[in-house]
Amino acid sequence: MPKTLFDHVWDAHIVRPETPDTPAVLYIDLHLIHEVTSPQAFTELRQRGLRVRRPDRTLATMDHSTPTTPRNALGIIPVIDPQAIAQLDQLRKNCADFGIPLFELGSANQGIVHVIGPEQGLTQPGMTIVCGDSHTSTHGAFGALAFGIGTSEVGHVLASQCLLQSRPKTCAVRIEGQLHPGVTAKDIILALIAKYGVGGGTGHVFEYMGEAMRALSMEERMTICNMSIEGGARAGMVAPDETTFAYIAGRPYAPKGADFDAAVARWRTLPSDPEAVFDKEMFLDATSLAPMITYGTNPGMGIPIDAPVPTPEQMPDAGSRQELDAALSYMKLEPGKPLLGHPIDVVFIGSCTNSRINDLRQVAHHLRGRKVADGIRVMVVPGSQQVKRQAEEEGLDTIFKAAGAEWREAGCSACLGMNADQVPPGKYAVSTSNRNFVGRQGPGARTLLASPLTAVASALTGVVTDPRTLLDQE
């Protein structure tokens, strides 16, 4: 029977098959952990007297509750919040006690968990990868089966390197055609979620395919897979190809020499068989897409940037009208009015969705020799220390600072409102992150999700701006 990419990876990781009475025991190749969702799992291990089965398949970083404030005179990133200090100390102790390697705050490799995995070459095709973080779907860009888990499951993987899982359904997401200038990977995923809704992928694993996907870089594929969870899919995958292999080659944890060649030969067998059947299909025409922006309080509430905010009359049922009313009331936006030209207060460029070097290069390209609009706070937060170093080697930091933007340390930052980087109540932020939920970027914060290109265009004007105007100026 022909198999999908998902089937290939799933079937290769079955330790014990699913039975009518028990789920499958699925082996996990790589377990990434961070300070927020792991402490209670280690407590469980200690209470039961269990060890970590494979510390050599586990890696920890610090990213969520960490500050991104510049280093002090001693080169240290100062942590002030006592709760964050305790959480980071607990992770240090857990890693030391159980022999797990840790990318310490501010050290050379530290960064957002979904940025460091790929950049270190830890993330490889055909692997199963989990983390106590829903954006683990990011790693699916490499043809890995990667998904977020809760803390109980973090404990399961620490103790057994396995998870109990029922087989999810598969969904082919075909993205055909070619993107127009000014339209990016972020706009693809925002358009997909706007079309199929935040629950559209529930119970399914996405496989993104089609002409537009093939043309994307690894970083762009990661941006798309990252937000699979925003479409309800626990995982999103892209078949590995030459772009994938070239990205992985030479990275620290990637196989070397003959081992790399053998791995590539194995990875070439992963793509879906031509006759493979999916449980469901979705479709998007990349050629017809405009830059996207969200107006509401879930990532499915997105529109082409030049479209008006939807009206209740456009909604299909009473439930969605009520949802729209509540969202627009929180966002203080008027139905039927354009978002273009709406004043903003903050621009956040960062997060596991859009904080990689390509994102920063794109932003810097348009900030070079210019100034951000008066009164606008622009935060540029690299996804990792390695991205930060690379950006500084290329002089991007100088461009950001000269333009009046903040150049910060690596971390999740203003994406999730659990460190000092927050959007003040009632203020509007154009953010390159992944969630616009009520209070996500801080109590009362009003988030407009968009691409880095739209973010920089809006940073320069101080109002929501179509990024295609930047291209017209070139």
Binding site: P101, A159, S160
Partner: protein, 202 residues
């Protein structure tokens, strides 16, 4: 974990679709290393007014909702973040079951792990439950896990799906880790045959 068999409880309605886990509990409450204080953060944006006092209009704050153990929630409940703090907060507050037309995948799995029962019902049953609660805020529903049924106030029994293994664990008050730890032999065989050579200790 306490075994769950049959229980009856007062139901409270939160008929909002796509309630994300940031609404269930915002990230600022996630800076703990244990499970303490999470119930205080439950639905904090809705439960409290900006001055910190309880919002009298929020369903959970109404006097008749006191002691409710069943939450009837809108579609796609628990979407977004994988934080298990969300089911911890709900269970800590006193909820034993959430009834919804459908749940987000990660939330559903997390809830089952800690004995907070995610009960998926059809649209008709969902609306019937909402009507019952609107007419009578003291409405109680019975959930029979062994029979996989919700018994509505009028006596109508509605089946709900739950995988056999999760049901077995909940009925017997055992967690899933014990079962996994018994698979050691198969796990060792699997590891010996795996072609993947990754080592995080570079």
């Amino acid at each position: 974990m306490e075994p769950i068999t049959t229980f009856a409880g007062k139901a409270v309605a939160l008929p909002i679709d796509n309630v994300d886990t940031d609404q269930v509990i915002p990230a600022k409450y996630l800076k703990v290393t244990d499970k303490s204080g999470l119930a205080e953060g439950l639905f904090t944006v809705w439960r409290y007014l900006p001055d910190g006092t309880p919002n009298p209009d929020f369903a959970l704050n109404r006097p008749e909702a006191a002691g409710a153990t069943v939450l009837v929630a809108g579609r796609n409940f628990g979407c977004g973040s994988s934080r298990e703090h969300a089911p911890w907060a709900l269970a800590g507050y006193g909820f034993k079951a959430i009834i919804s037309p459908y749940f987000a995948d990660i939330f559903r799995g997390n809830a089952l792990k800690i004995g907070l029962l995610p009960v998926t019902v059809d649209e008709e049953t969902y609306h019937e439950l909402l009507s019952h609660i609107e007419e009578d805020p003291e409405t109680s529903v019975t959930i029979d896990l062994a029979a996989q049924q919700v018994i509505l106030p009028g006596g109508r029994a509605v089946s709900f799906p739950i995988d056999n293994f999760a049901r077995h664990c909940l009925l017997n008050g055992i967690d899933q880790l014990g079962f996994l730890m018994q698979q050691d032999e198969d796990i060792c065989s699997y590891e010996a045959a795996s072609p993947i050579t990754l080592n995080t200790h570079l």
